[in-house]
Protein backbone atom coordinates (compact mmCIF):
# COMPACT_ATOMS: atom_id res chain seq x y z
CA UNK A 1 0.00 0.00 0.00
CA UNK A 2 1.25 3.50 -0.83
CA UNK A 3 0.57 6.69 1.08
CA UNK A 4 1.07 10.46 0.86
CA UNK A 5 1.78 10.93 4.54
CA UNK A 6 5.18 12.55 4.09
CA UNK A 7 3.89 15.08 1.55
CA UNK A 8 0.79 15.92 3.59
CA UNK A 9 2.86 16.29 6.73
CA UNK A 10 5.35 18.57 4.96
CA UNK A 11 2.49 20.73 3.61
CA UNK A 12 1.35 21.33 7.19
CA UNK A 13 4.90 21.74 8.47
CA UNK A 14 4.41 18.92 10.97
CA UNK A 15 7.25 16.76 12.21
CA UNK A 16 6.80 13.00 12.62
CA UNK A 17 6.59 13.60 16.37
CA UNK A 18 3.80 16.20 15.85
CA UNK A 19 1.78 13.74 13.78
CA UNK A 20 2.48 10.92 16.23
CA UNK A 21 1.12 13.05 19.06
CA UNK A 22 -2.04 13.91 17.10
CA UNK A 23 -2.59 10.22 16.33
CA UNK A 24 -1.63 9.04 19.82
CA UNK A 25 0.96 6.63 18.43
CA UNK A 26 4.75 6.44 18.63
CA UNK A 27 6.99 8.42 16.29
CA UNK A 28 8.48 5.13 15.14
CA UNK A 29 4.99 4.02 14.10
CA UNK A 30 4.52 7.14 11.97
CA UNK A 31 7.91 6.54 10.37
CA UNK A 32 7.08 2.89 9.63
CA UNK A 33 3.74 3.85 8.03
CA UNK A 34 5.28 6.75 6.09
CA UNK A 35 8.04 4.58 4.62
CA UNK A 36 5.55 1.86 3.67
CA UNK A 37 7.09 -0.71 6.01
CA UNK A 38 3.88 -1.04 7.98
CA UNK A 39 0.28 -0.79 6.77
CA UNK A 40 -2.01 0.73 9.42
CA UNK A 41 -5.23 -0.93 10.52
CA UNK A 42 -8.49 0.48 9.15
CA UNK A 43 -9.29 2.36 12.41
CA UNK A 44 -5.84 4.00 12.40
CA UNK A 45 -6.12 4.82 8.68
CA UNK A 46 -9.45 6.56 9.40
CA UNK A 47 -7.84 8.43 12.28
CA UNK A 48 -5.02 9.58 9.97
CA UNK A 49 -7.62 10.72 7.42
CA UNK A 50 -9.47 12.66 10.14
CA UNK A 51 -6.27 14.37 11.33
CA UNK A 52 -5.50 15.53 7.78
CA UNK A 53 -9.17 16.31 7.06
CA UNK A 54 -9.10 14.26 3.86
CA UNK A 55 -10.92 11.18 2.57
CA UNK A 56 -8.95 8.02 3.22
CA UNK A 57 -8.46 7.31 -0.52
CA UNK A 58 -6.63 10.63 -0.94
CA UNK A 59 -4.01 9.44 1.52
CA UNK A 60 -3.73 5.70 0.89
CA UNK A 61 -3.82 3.73 -2.33
CA UNK A 62 -3.17 0.13 -3.26
CA UNK A 63 0.13 -0.47 -5.05
CA UNK A 64 -1.69 -1.64 -8.19
CA UNK A 65 -3.91 1.46 -8.22
CA UNK A 66 -0.91 3.75 -7.81
CA UNK A 67 0.94 1.97 -10.63
CA UNK A 68 -2.09 2.20 -12.92
CA UNK A 69 -2.39 5.94 -12.28
CA UNK A 70 1.29 6.53 -13.15
Amino acid sequence: MRNRLKVLRAERNWSQADLAEKLDVSRQSVNAIETGKYDPSLPLAFKIAAVFGLPIEQIFSADEAAQAAE
Partner: protein
Amino acid sequence: MPRETSPKIISNGRRYMGNMAVASVLYTAAVFGGAFAIRDESLPQWGVILAALAPLIPALLMLRAYVIFLNGVDEFQRRIQTDAMLISAAVVGFGSFAYGFLEEWAGFPHLPLIWVFPALIGIWGLAACVLRLRYK
Protein backbone atom coordinates in the same frame (compact mmCIF):
# COMPACT_ATOMS: atom_id res chain seq x y z
CA MET B 1 16.75 9.67 16.33
CA PRO B 2 14.12 11.93 17.96
CA ARG B 3 12.70 10.69 21.23
CA GLU B 4 9.04 9.83 21.70
CA THR B 5 7.06 12.87 22.81
CA SER B 6 3.51 11.54 23.18
CA PRO B 7 2.51 11.89 26.88
CA LYS B 8 0.54 8.63 26.68
CA ILE B 9 3.58 6.69 25.40
CA ILE B 10 5.92 8.30 27.93
CA SER B 11 3.59 7.57 30.87
CA ASN B 12 3.03 3.99 29.64
CA GLY B 13 6.80 3.44 29.51
CA ARG B 14 7.29 4.96 32.97
CA ARG B 15 4.50 2.86 34.46
CA TYR B 16 6.07 -0.25 32.93
CA MET B 17 9.51 0.57 34.35
CA GLY B 18 7.97 1.25 37.78
CA ASN B 19 5.93 -1.96 37.84
CA MET B 20 8.91 -3.95 36.59
CA ALA B 21 11.24 -2.42 39.20
CA VAL B 22 8.85 -3.38 42.04
CA ALA B 23 8.45 -6.92 40.64
CA SER B 24 12.25 -7.26 40.23
CA VAL B 25 12.90 -6.26 43.85
CA LEU B 26 10.27 -8.75 45.03
CA TYR B 27 11.73 -11.44 42.75
CA THR B 28 15.23 -10.93 44.16
CA ALA B 29 13.83 -11.08 47.69
CA ALA B 30 11.88 -14.26 46.89
CA VAL B 31 14.91 -16.00 45.35
CA PHE B 32 17.26 -15.12 48.19
CA GLY B 33 14.56 -15.75 50.82
CA GLY B 34 13.69 -19.12 49.27
CA ALA B 35 17.35 -20.14 48.97
CA PHE B 36 17.88 -19.18 52.61
CA ALA B 37 14.74 -20.98 53.78
CA ILE B 38 15.58 -24.34 52.17
CA ARG B 39 18.93 -24.40 54.00
CA ASP B 40 16.91 -25.15 57.13
CA GLU B 41 16.87 -28.94 57.15
CA SER B 42 13.91 -29.06 59.55
CA LEU B 43 11.70 -27.37 56.95
CA PRO B 44 8.85 -29.74 55.99
CA GLN B 45 8.43 -30.79 52.36
CA TRP B 46 5.47 -28.46 51.83
CA GLY B 47 7.65 -25.60 53.11
CA VAL B 48 10.39 -26.47 50.61
CA ILE B 49 7.78 -26.55 47.82
CA LEU B 50 6.43 -23.14 48.89
CA ALA B 51 9.96 -21.70 49.02
CA ALA B 52 10.73 -23.12 45.59
CA LEU B 53 7.57 -21.64 44.09
CA ALA B 54 7.84 -18.25 45.86
CA PRO B 55 9.74 -16.58 42.93
CA LEU B 56 6.77 -17.37 40.68
CA ILE B 57 4.62 -14.71 42.37
CA PRO B 58 6.89 -11.77 41.47
CA ALA B 59 7.47 -13.41 38.06
CA LEU B 60 3.70 -13.25 37.56
CA LEU B 61 3.82 -9.57 38.59
CA MET B 62 6.41 -9.07 35.82
CA LEU B 63 4.05 -10.74 33.37
CA ARG B 64 1.23 -8.46 34.60
CA ALA B 65 3.48 -5.40 34.12
CA TYR B 66 4.22 -6.53 30.58
CA VAL B 67 0.54 -7.15 29.74
CA ILE B 68 -0.38 -3.66 31.04
CA PHE B 69 2.48 -2.21 28.95
CA LEU B 70 1.36 -4.13 25.85
CA ASN B 71 -2.20 -2.82 26.24
CA GLY B 72 -0.84 0.73 26.37
CA VAL B 73 1.24 0.68 23.19
CA ASP B 74 -0.01 1.41 19.68
CA GLU B 75 -0.78 -1.24 17.09
CA PHE B 76 2.61 -1.06 15.37
CA GLN B 77 4.55 -1.49 18.63
CA ARG B 78 2.21 -4.33 19.60
CA ARG B 79 2.93 -5.98 16.26
CA ILE B 80 6.68 -5.83 16.96
CA GLN B 81 6.17 -7.30 20.43
CA THR B 82 3.88 -10.12 19.30
CA ASP B 83 6.13 -11.00 16.33
CA ALA B 84 9.12 -11.09 18.71
CA MET B 85 7.20 -13.36 21.11
CA LEU B 86 6.28 -15.69 18.26
CA ILE B 87 9.91 -15.88 17.09
CA SER B 88 11.07 -16.54 20.66
CA ALA B 89 8.44 -19.25 21.22
CA ALA B 90 9.44 -20.94 17.95
CA VAL B 91 13.20 -20.78 18.64
CA VAL B 92 12.95 -21.94 22.26
CA GLY B 93 10.24 -24.51 21.51
CA PHE B 94 12.06 -26.14 18.63
CA GLY B 95 15.46 -25.64 20.30
CA SER B 96 14.41 -27.40 23.50
CA PHE B 97 12.63 -30.11 21.50
CA ALA B 98 15.79 -30.75 19.46
CA TYR B 99 17.98 -30.66 22.55
CA GLY B 100 15.66 -33.15 24.23
CA PHE B 101 16.38 -35.66 21.46
CA LEU B 102 20.12 -34.92 21.70
CA GLU B 103 19.97 -35.52 25.47
CA GLU B 104 18.06 -38.77 25.13
CA TRP B 105 19.75 -40.26 22.09
CA ALA B 106 23.15 -38.63 21.74
CA GLY B 107 24.16 -38.38 25.39
CA PHE B 108 24.28 -34.60 25.50
CA PRO B 109 24.54 -33.16 29.06
CA HIS B 110 21.26 -32.59 30.91
CA LEU B 111 20.08 -28.98 31.01
CA PRO B 112 17.67 -27.95 33.78
CA LEU B 113 14.20 -26.78 32.72
CA ILE B 114 14.71 -23.57 34.72
CA TRP B 115 16.60 -22.14 31.70
CA VAL B 116 13.60 -22.35 29.38
CA PHE B 117 11.85 -19.22 30.69
CA PRO B 118 14.98 -17.00 30.76
CA ALA B 119 15.79 -18.21 27.22
CA LEU B 120 12.26 -17.30 26.13
CA ILE B 121 12.56 -13.80 27.61
CA GLY B 122 16.11 -13.27 26.32
CA ILE B 123 15.35 -14.30 22.74
CA TRP B 124 12.11 -12.31 22.79
CA GLY B 125 14.08 -9.17 23.79
CA LEU B 126 16.70 -9.82 21.12
CA ALA B 127 14.05 -10.44 18.45
CA ALA B 128 12.21 -7.23 19.43
CA CYS B 129 15.48 -5.25 19.01
CA VAL B 130 16.13 -6.81 15.58
CA LEU B 131 12.54 -6.15 14.43
CA ARG B 132 12.76 -2.53 15.60
CA LEU B 133 15.93 -2.09 13.54
CA ARG B 134 14.18 -3.66 10.56
CA TYR B 135 11.39 -1.09 10.73
CA LYS B 136 13.75 1.87 11.22
